[in-house]
């Protein structure tokens, strides 16, 4: 087991899935507990991984490798570094919580939990795989359970939401497949991501296709693939719909982890394999990030459906991460060699990914709590809930404050880091983006005011308070949010070395370019 820790983390949910499918379908409690056990074991393993992780290096660890299809050089390779570690832990936490969030599902329980566990394996597999083919297979494996989870257990428009999600994502992934194949053939027919990281840049240098830089073409193909997942404006239109229609736990996972996959892919693939093009695209990325921030915030402001508001807030929040990622070029010589700014930006971006994972998960769970009681999500339909559900209101206040970036909560730290990093290179963009924070505060506070303060809506006078199971799902996330808001250092220590490696890759290319 020592050496196969990563494999266990990837495959435990599948074992759980098989176990779930073997249970007769009327034993719904057994099914739920089996799923919870699988997710729980995965979480324990993820924590073991956290404990075993070597903080002193930014390279891949716990490396596993096995032959798969020798004739194509496809291998089964797993490894973890500071970028994937927080994402894996986040996934394990959110799935464990997600199982309990879904406790009240009563339609086709067996299928639901089996698909949830399959989704789990797909996601963790993407984070851990170091073989591009494996990466792609896991990437696609996620689509099927997502389609069913939204399409079968979702809201009234679920079918449309599910197919839209599927089509959008598939467009991205087929473009990605072409880019992967192009990399495969330029890097000596290998899918080994580490080898591609080392050889892609030199092999593609100077290659042009139809007058365009091959590197840029591949970069853009990959970018579109990942941007649809993030989602980056203008590829975001699937997201609000999917979020609104999905059942609570799926929304939690969608916002908490699936969106991170896009950002993860950008860092793992675009940044690490084709760093040259980062220089060329960073400006555009910062602008796209800015659009995400402002557009997401404005849309959120206009919503009357609380779930849709939270969905648009995700677009808004991922914008900060994009701006932070773009900041990596600050470290280049032509930009003054401000290594600290690049570090702040990149660390901030990954931290923002993690924080958004916990905060948006909290928000969606809380939305689910009120929806289960009131059976609607219209912000204007509530009012004065604070007096009927004081504990619930308090937690919502905490989540909203975390979402709007209140200092001493984790969201503030990561947003501030993104801005700090980006400021030296993208001054104007950062200044405008800070306005986004203002809008951000506006939509959360306004929604809070309408729902929880003011006249008590008589209809909801007797709503039951948040219950123990729901608190159980919320409290760990709230604790993380507060803890990292006050003391973010442990998190940054885990990711720091790997971020330095990525910055070095980008900078090495950049200084070369400036010499030439």
């Amino acid at each position: 087991m020592e050496n196969h820790l990563l494999s266990w983390i990837v495959w435990i949910p599948i074992i759980g899935m098989v176990a779930v499918t073997l249970i007769p379908r009327d034993h719904s409690n057994a099914i739920k507990w089996t799923a919870a056990a699988a997710a729980g074991i995965q979480l324990i393993f993820a924590l073991v991984l956290l404990a075993k992780f070597d903080l002193t290096t930014g390279d891949f660890q716990m490396y596993e490798s096995a032959q798969w299809i020798p004739s194509l050089n496809i291998t089964y390779q797993l490894g973890v570094d500071g970028l994937s570690l927080p994402m894996v832990v986040l996934t394990a936490i959110l799935f464990f919580i997600g199982i309990f969030v879904s406790w009240k599902i009563d339609k086709a329980v067996k299928g639901y939990f089996a698909l949830l566990l399959l989704l789990d394996t797909g996601i963790v597999g993407v984070f851990l795989s170091l073989d591009f083919f494996l990466f792609y297979v896991f990437w696609e494996v996620m689509l099927l359970p997502m389609y069913f989870l939204i399409g079968m257990w979702g809201g009234p428009q679920r079918e449309y939401a599910a197919i839209k999600f599927f089509l959008y994502t598939l467009v991205g992934s087929v473009l990605m497949l072409i880019a992967i194949l192009a990399l495969y053939f330029t890097c000596g027919q290998t899918f080994d991501m580490i080898t591609i990281m080392e050889t892609a840049s030199p092999n593609l240098a100077g290659v042009t296709w139809w007058g365009m830089d091959a590197m840029k073409v591949i970069w853009v193909l990959l970018f579109i693939g990942f941007a649809i997942k993030v989602p980056v404006f203008p590829f975001h239109t699937w997201l609000p719909l999917a979020h609104v229609e999905a059942p609570t736990a799926v929304s939690v996972i969608l916002a908490g982890i699936l969106l991170k996959l896009g950002a993860y892919g950008l860092l793992r693939v675009n940044y690490s394999m084709l760093p040259d093009a980062v220089w060329w695209f960073a400006g555009a990325m910062a602008i796209l990030g800015l659009i995400n921030v402002i557009w997401g915030a404005l849309c959120a402001l206009a919503q009357t459906d609380i779930k849709k508001l939270v969905a648009y807030s995700s677009i808004n929040h991922m914008g900060y991460a994009l701006i932070g990622m773009a900041a990596v070029i600050a470290a280049g010589e032509m930009n003054g060699g401000n290594y600290a700014a690049a570090q702040a930006g990149l660390n901030g971006a990954v931290f923002q990914m993690f924080n958004h994972g916990t905060i948006s998960a909290m928000l969606f769970i809380l939305v689910g709590v009120i929806y289960d009681r009131a059976h609607h999500r219209d912000i204007n339909g509530f009012g004065g809930l604070a007096s009927s559900m004081p504990i619930y209101s308090g937690i919502v206040a905490l989540a909203f404050f975390a979402g709007l970036g209140l200092p001493s909560l984790s969201g503030f730290v990561s947003e501030a880091m993104c801005f700090l990093g980006a400021f030296p290179v993208f001054r104007t963009i950062v200044i405008i983006a800070t306005l986004g924070i203002l809008l951000n505060a506006a939509y959360f506070l306004w929604a809070f005011q309408r729902m929880f303060l003011g006249e008590m809506n008589e209809k909801y006078k007797d709503l039951p308070e948040i219950n123990g199971r729901e608190l159980f799902t919320i409290i760990p996330l709230a604790v993380i949010t507060i803890l990292f808001g006050i003391y973010p250092w442990p998190f940054l220590k885990y990711i720091g070395e790997t971020m330095n490696v990525i910055i070095d890759q980008v900078v090495a290319i950049g200084s070369m370019a400036s010499v030439m």
Binding site: W68, E140, R158, I163, L170, V171, L177, F185
Partner: protein, 497 residues
């Protein structure tokens, strides 16, 4: 090799011939309601033939019957594929209710003859043989498509098939005659050098014959613009025959297309090393690429609009012919290998999809999307299997269809930037196809009431469904044996000159 010597290497086909004759004779002794038992004769004969082929696997690469039949791993590969498809379709047919009202002895015998024709198709290296083989297959197909005598749409299918078939084989024959006129020989491998030795005055004639011949082959694999027969024939034919037509003759069509064009228009010593003589006259690879893109796009776009799942699958099979054509313009062994690998994957997923359509026809009395509503709840096995087939046809990992597409894309991209647009077109088409494939899944699970009672298909049906669904998944995860088989089969017979 002389005719007598050749017979020694021809015994798998001889077993097949004896099987067909035995089937005809046996059928005479069955009462009409028992005539289905003829199937066992043919089935047994096919299995014997497969064994014979297996034993003959290490026979030398040679040409038989004075240079008119090739004995090579390439043909061997397709023969095995054809037998597999036929066995599956025969088992499917035995479960079909459409055929219940008819005497089905000849049905199985005709399929046996068709197998023989396809064996000839994949191995003939003489224009006359090519033509005869294609005609054997076509005429049997006409009869089988119209087998439901009392069903008007089946009659229509047969008649349309005959008319289109006659037309396109006539055109193809005209193309052959031009080639014969230019070179004075019918042997494919003599035509190539003869053409290469000609001056440019014959260019127009070569071009004309190439286009005419392509029309004939294009009809066989239902490539646009020679596809017009496909939807109506596929819809009207008995469902097992539709499944059969969409796989076996198509595979044989690809085999003959590859062999013919590589031998005649390719350079002689290495297959597909480049279509030397003709590519000067015509931008040949680009024409094939454009045909591929138009075929897949049209197939997909029209499939979206269908209300009948069977007809949707007919258009989807046009689209799949388009995907497979993507492997040919590069003229590389990777490309051909990708087509062959795709055919293996396609065999399982497409036959599986058609089998489930047939099963739903018998249970729900319809083949429209509505007939599939709620099916996933009512028949979990059928629903899950159909989901697997649909995802595989879309090309989503981890299914066989993805691996097939992967090889095709890889072959295209390996050939360099010239054909990148082709890979893009294929990729975008995969996304379009998702829309209609997933519609089936949507009907099975998302629309329709959840039923509390579960229907489990009969034993044989379940086994057959699993026999098709399990490989569709397993080959998506581990396909080394198939890939090895394909790469070992890329050996072509050439007559010593």
């Amino acid at each position: 090799m002389s005719n007598l010597q050749s017979l020694y290497y021809y015994w798998p086909e001889l077993i097949l011939t004896v099987t067909i004759l035995a089937g005809i004779i046996a059928d005479l002794f069955y009462a009409p309601k028992d005539s289905g038992k003829t199937m066992y004769w043919i089935l047994g004969g096919l299995i014997l033939t497969a064994f014979a082929l297996k034993l003959a696997a290490d026979s030398p690469v040679a040409t038989l019957f004075m240079g008119s039949i090739a004995l090579d791993p390439f043909a061997w590969f397709f023969k095995m594929l054809i037998i597999a498809a036929t066995v599956i379709v025969m088992l499917m047919s035995s479960k079909s209710t459409e055929l219940l009202n008819y005497r089905v002895g000849e049905y199985y015998v005709l399929m046996g003859i068709m197998v023989f024709g396809m064996f000839l198709m994949v191995s003939s290296i003489d224009m006359i043989m090519v033509y005869l083989a294609i005609e054997i297959v076509s005429i049997m197909s006409f009869v089988l498509a119209g087998y439901l005598k009392h069903d008007l749409s089946s009659n229509e299918a047969s008649l349309k098939y005959v008319i289109y078939g006659a037309f396109s084989s006539g055109i193809m024959l005209y193309g052959f005659s031009i080639l014969f006129g230019l070179t004075g020989t019918t042997k494919l491998f003599e035509i190539g050098p003869a053409l290469a030795a000609m001056d440019s005055s014959g260019n127009f004639a070569i071009m004309l014959s190439a286009v005419f011949i392509l029309a004939g082959f294009g009809y066989k694999i239902s490539a646009v613009p020679f596809h017009f027969w496909t939807p109506d024939v596929y819809q009207g034919s008995p469902t097992p025959i539709t499944a059969y037509l969409s796989v076996a003759p198509k595979a044989a069509g690809f085999a003959v297309l590859i062999r013919f064009f590589s031998a005649v228009f390719g350079s002689n010593n290495s297959v597909m090393a480049g279509l030397v003589p003709v590519s000067d006259v015509l931008p040949w690879p680009h024409i094939l690429a454009v045909v591929a893109v138009i075929t897949m796009t049209l197939g997909n776009l029209v499939a979206i609009q269908q209300e009948s799942v069977k007809r949707m699958l007919a258009y989807s099979s046009i689209a799949h012919a388009g995907y497979m054509l993507m492997g040919l313009p590069m003229m590389s062994s990777e490309g051909i290998g990708a087509v062959m690998l795709y055919l293996v994957m396609y065999l399982f997923m497409n036959l599986g999809a058609f089998f489930i359509v047939m099963y739903v026809q018998t249970k729900k009395d319809g083949e429209t999307f509505d007939a599939f509503s709620g099916l996933g709840w009512e028949m979990p096995l059928v629903g899950i299997a159909m989901t697997v087939f649909m995802f595989s046809l879309t090309g989503i990992p981890p299914t066989a269809g993805f691996i097939g597409k992967y090889y095709l894309f890889a072959a295209v991209i390996k050939a360099g930037p010239t054909f990148y647009w082709l890979a893009f077109a294929g990729a975008i088409n995969s996304v379009i196809s998702l829309y209609y494939y997933i519609r089936v899944i949507r009907h099975m699970y998302l629309i329709g009431e959840r039923s509390e009672s579960i229907h489990v298909p009969a034993m044989m049906t379940s086994i057959l469904i699993l026999a098709l669904a399990i490989p569709t998944v397993v080959l998506g995860v581990y396909w080394t044996p198939v890939a090895d088989w394909v790469s070992n089969s890329l050996v072509f017979a050439f007559p010593a000159m």
